[in-house]
């Protein structure tokens, strides 16, 4: 079976004035279907950059990156949008829900861009909200929800397109420890159902939920333990 994610000698450099920052200094790694991976490291180690490249939110400076059968370097902007729409579900530290918009519409947002008709969008969004235990709050606005509930809405949104991979960037970073456990329990359950989960964290107890841990330092993977 070919790897779900296959990166070869991936680099990313930023120009900051006259200094060059090597955010990624040549990362080669493979991740298979159904894995549960925690990406760890100090800030500035390159772990977030790595995640952004996997989700096609950013483009590498050099190297090859293949995700779910797509060679990302060969895709144009529209094709990358289709890739994000069809293969990736994002969960962010700050939830990034649309304000003044009911939970169900937030969850349905990716379906809007995937061209799904309104009635079908609503049905699928409600099903996902039920999956994260928020069916009865589907018409609440983000402001009316707690942090943990907002993050669960965000997870429902990440799931609504049936993605191959969930990419979560510090998903518990803005939550207290009890709520963090609730959210992590959802990720655990999703992984048991076969969804590949990659999450960035700097908290060891969060990382312990994963079955594989990648530790970044100075733009390189320095540890890869299962």
């Amino acid at each position: 079976m070919s790897a779900l994610i296959d990166c070869r000698n991936l680099t990313k450099t930023y120009e900051m004035g006259d200094t060059t920052i090597n955010a990624l200094a040549g990362v080669s790694i493979t991740i298979n279907q159904g894995e549960y991976v925690a990406v760890m490291g100090a800030s500035g180690s390159g772990k977030s950059t790595f995640m952004n490249l996997l989700g096609a939110l950013d483009t590498p400076t050099s190297g090859e990156l293949q995700v779910a059968g797509n060679r990302l370097s060969q895709l144009n902007a529209d094709a990358l949008a289709d890739f994000r729409s069809g293969s990736i579900g994002f969960v962010f530290q700050q939830f990034n829900l649309l304000p003044r918009t009911p939970a169900v519409e937030n969850v349905a947002l990716p379906l809007v861009y995937a061209g799904v008709p309104a009635a079908e969008r609503n049905r699928r969004a409600l099903a996902r909200l039920e999956q994260v235990g928020l069916a009865e709050r589907s018409h609440h606005h983000p402001k009316q929800l707690s942090g943990g509930q907002q993050q669960r809405v965000a997870i429902a949104r990440a799931l609504v397109n049936d993605p191959a991979i969930i990419l979560a960037d510090e998903p518990t970073g803005a939550l207290d420890s009890r709520t963090s456990e609730e959210v992590m329990a959802i990720f655990d359950q999703l992984n048991r159902e076969g969804i590949t989960i990659i999450l960035v964290t700097h908290e060891q107890d969060v990382a312990d939920h994963a079955k594989r841990q990648l530790v970044f330092r100075d733009g390189l993977v320095v540890e890869d333990r299962s």
Partner: protein, 411 residues
């Protein structure tokens, strides 16, 4: 993302920043309203001018003697020898394409009926005059061609005379006195109102030409026999006015013995042309105002662009999120473009209402017949649509070119 959903998103976004949206619209509202008011007033004025031309007779030519040249000294207007009945007859008989020709003489008289008197203009004319100048007899009759040569003391009077001397009662068959002589009123003419320079056209008594000359001495000056002060000639519909003018000039040059190359001592003018020329400056003023309104609209558009750029910046993270969940660049561009168009169309709609309101207020105050034409409404809506697209495109393009991760991380 379909159009309906985009419009809904746009409306929500505009409602969230209600005051800001309203202020941004203000330029468009003022621009559209002023375009509508100014164009409507300008159109209304133009219509009034055309109505006035019609009231004079749109196709009327006015022939008058000009200045004499005697020993190198040029006399003033009308100093050349008068036109005569013979000139009237020659124009009537020899020029093709005229439907009515009449001489005219005028003098100021005091008319008396019962114990009331009124000073007015006694105007001696030929029978053709009424048709040529568009006077419609509304009671009684006008005099015939035979009667205008016979010197009978008949009078056809205007509405002002009916009001001042007869107190609005029917004057037909009554006898009024002018310079001690009785004149029988045989008809009245429909009112024409004032000219644009404030002269009451209905303050008039029409008499047969010969009667006015011989009984009242109207137009009589010097030794010339049967003089007329003015000849009116009505060009038939479909005839080339310039050709008719040239023919009359040729005829009169021969009759008045003007050497080839010498200057005419008479003038042949088209009244419609005269009035149009007089209003040319007003038209230019209207154009200037329209340009001004266009500039207001342009400034309004810049306001829209400014507010859209602010909106794009404020919602950078939202744009990043939308890109992350699968929005294409054109989805983002369309969203902001539609927002700009919706903003401008709402502004245009409000401006339309304000413009129609302003126009009707102006029409009421100025007692003018002004209406907002559907064409102007179309132009106003089209202009606001154009402003929305034109000034919305750059901010929308800017939003759509954001890099997803930069947008998501924007603080």
């Amino acid at each position: 993302m379909n159009l309906f959903a985009s419009i809904r998103v746009a409306l929500v976004a505009l409602r969230v920043n209600f005051l800001r949206s309203a202020l941004a619209m203000l330029g468009i509202i003022i621009g559209v309203a002023s375009v509508i008011v100014l164009v409507s007033i300008s159109e209304g004025t133009k219509r009034a001018v055309e109505a006035q031309i019609d009231s004079f007779g749109a196709s009327l030519l006015i022939i008058r003697p000009g200045s004499s040249i005697f020993g190198g000294r040029r006399g003033g207007a009308g100093s050349a020898s008068p036109l005569t009945d013979l000139d009237v007859r020659a124009v009537r008989e020899e020029i093709a394409g005229l439907s009515g020709v009449s001489g005219e003489v005028r003098t100021s008289v005091t008319a008396v009926f019962g114990g009331v008197n009124w000073t007015t203009s006694a105007t001696g004319v030929n029978a053709d005059y009424f048709d040529a100048r568009g006077w419609i007899v509304d009671e009684g009759r006008a005099f015939s061609a035979a009667e205008d040569e016979s010197g009978r003391r008949y009078a056809v009077i205007g509405q002002t005379l009916v009001n001042e001397l007869f107190d609005g009662a029917s004057p037909v068959g009554q006898s009024l006195r002018v310079r001690g002589q009785p004149f029988e009123v045989i008809g009245t003419v429909e009112p024409k109102g004032e000219t644009s320079w404030g002269q009451d056209q209905d303050d008039v008594i029409f008499l047969p030409l010969e009667t006015a000359r011989s009984r009242l001495g109207a137009g009589v000056r010097g030794p010339t026999r049967d003089p007329v002060q003015t000849i009116y000639a009505d060009v038939s519909a479909g005839e080339d006015t310039d050709r008719v003018i040239a023919d009359i000039q040729d005829l009169l040059r021969i009759r008045r013995d003007i050497a080839p190359g010498a200057v005419d001592d008479f003038s042949v003018a088209s009244l419609a042309e005269f009035i149009r020329a007089r209003n040319e400056t007003e038209n230019q003023l209207g154009l200037l105002l329209a340009v001004g309104a266009g500039i207001v609209l342009l400034v309004g558009g810049i306001g829209i662009m400014n507010i859209m750029l602010v909106s794009v910046t404020e919602r950078t993270r939202e744009i990043g999120l939308r890109l992350a969940v699968g929005a294409k660049r054109r989805d983002i561009r369309n969203q902001f473009l539609i927002e700009s168009i919706v903003l401008c169309l709402i502004g245009g709609g409000l401006g339309l209402v304000a413009g129609i309101g302003g126009t009707s207020v102006y029409a009421n105050v100025g007692q003018l017949d002004i209406a907002v034409s559907p064409l102007i409404v179309g132009v106003a809506v089209g202009a606001s649509l154009f402003v929305g697209v034109f000034f919305g495109l750059y901010p929308a393009q800017r939003a759509s070119r954001l890099n997803p991760i930069d947008a998501l991380r924007f603080e």
